[in-house]
Amino acid sequence: MNKVKKTVLNQVHRDLGARMVEFGGWDMPVQYTGVIAEHLAVRSAAGLFDVSHMGEFEVSGPDAFVFLQFATINDLSSLVNGQVQYSALCYATGGIVDDITLYRFDDEKYMLCVNAANIDKDFAWLQELAVQHKGDYELVNRSVDFAQLALQGPKAAAILGGLTSADLLSLKTYHFCESDVAGMPMIISRTGYTGEDGFELYCSPTDAETLWRALMEQGVPQGLVPVGLGARDTLRLEKAYALYGHELSAEILPLEARLGWITKLEKANFCGREALLKAKSGGVRRQLIGLRLTQPGVPREQYSVRVAGREVGQVTSGTMSPSSRQGIALALVETVAAKNESEFSIVIRGREISAEKVKLPFI
């Protein structure tokens, strides 16, 4: 086993009394005071997350664009300088290597932000693709060069605005700029994983603690709280954002996982395209849907989903929604059931609990 890794803020979390857990090979805070309180603070005010475990790769050079057009399923040609794109890496089978965000600095410089648990796998995969698709570009794993903090919630802009010279009013969602926060240089990206307005700040690891303290000092009077991975999960689930290892995996196609909107099959060529075209013409077997329990209970990953007593799929993520106080689940089910049925049940400890299909996101 590899040693569990720590972000540069590990001691800050411990000093705040966080409960630490291992996540994707990292020792991370799961909660500081409580998942529900942290979740609700992000919905009503703001939360600060240490997401330094995420990975960053840089692809640069005259052929960076061509390489990334092949390596990712979304279409880079629509991307302008300073814009961020949600995308994914797929195997030739169409199964998902990882979901990513892709940053365009200029036409010869891009950055990929990847999931913590997948850093080594993703980088090895891209290196393998690079061997097959040679060109004038460089692929560098820069994960150790960045710490990342996410500031999320309706008060995020007001908090950050007091600490930066960047013009946040003109920084639109899914755009970024290179600027300063609390006098330190960093990338300010108007992105996140909570469904709220907010920012992801990429800074030097040596500046991370100063940045954390500056944001807390500025934000606490406006309701800012530190938020752990527990609430990060419930926040993303209420907004039906996929999480690798749950909704996404090598065995799941993006077309099954509600990622059709980033799967640009009309793009000339990309890894996985043939398999995905074939899957689409043959009819996609499964679909990810949202279920809300109409009886008390908490749906969990891998619980069986049934229609009229017959298993049609499984829960991929489930929780008690802190916002609505109802059991909610994403479930991968047979396409026929996903399309035609509205009444499902989820088997919890041997009992069928009624659930209705709902439009996503949940809130």
């Binding site: 409960r19 799961v30 909660q31 409580g34 998942v35 529900i36 309180a37 527990g230 999960d233 419930t234 008390p296 209970g297 908490v298 969990r300 929780t319 008690m320 802190p322 106080r325 400890r349």
Partner: protein
């Protein structure tokens, strides 16, 4: 963390309190703290029997599902019917409002084998 002297404790982190003929059962302050925000509670019905060492109920937090084990055998005489609607009571008042069931015990001598507050505290420090 609070461990009242008048209670007995199990290695599975339940507490018991002998009140007249009945024994009240709940989960300890340590257990609720470890679980985090409790969002769902499943309890037996009055008249059900519970068996020592076997699960009689379920407590779920946002992140985890946890069985609650019977510290002794008996028949369920009372159930805390407030808990399903306000499961967070287990977090805020684990020893009082957060009690789970009261049973008519088959054999009270089982209580002698349980830990007192001092022993339980030593036990969780070791864990």
């Amino acid at each position: 963390m609070d461990f009242p002297e008048e209670l007995k404790y199990t290695e599975d982190h339940e507490w018991v309190l002998l009140e007249g003929d009945l024994v009240s059962i709940g989960i300890s302050d340590f257990a609720q703290d470890q679980l985090g925000d409790v969002v769902f509670v499943e309890l037996p019905d009055v008249g059900d029997t519970v068996e020592v060492g076997k699960a009689f109920g379920v407590v779920e937090s946002v992140k985890a599902v946890s069985d609650v084990y019977a510290p002794l055998s008996g028949e369920v005489a009372e159930v805390n019917t407030d808990l399903p609607d306000s499961p967070e009571t287990i977090n805020t008042s684990p020893y009082e409002d957060g009690w789970m069931i009261r049973i008519k015990p088959d054999d009270l001598s089982v209580l002698d084998g349980l830990m007192d507050a001092t022993e339980y505290q030593a036990f969780i420090e070791e864990e």
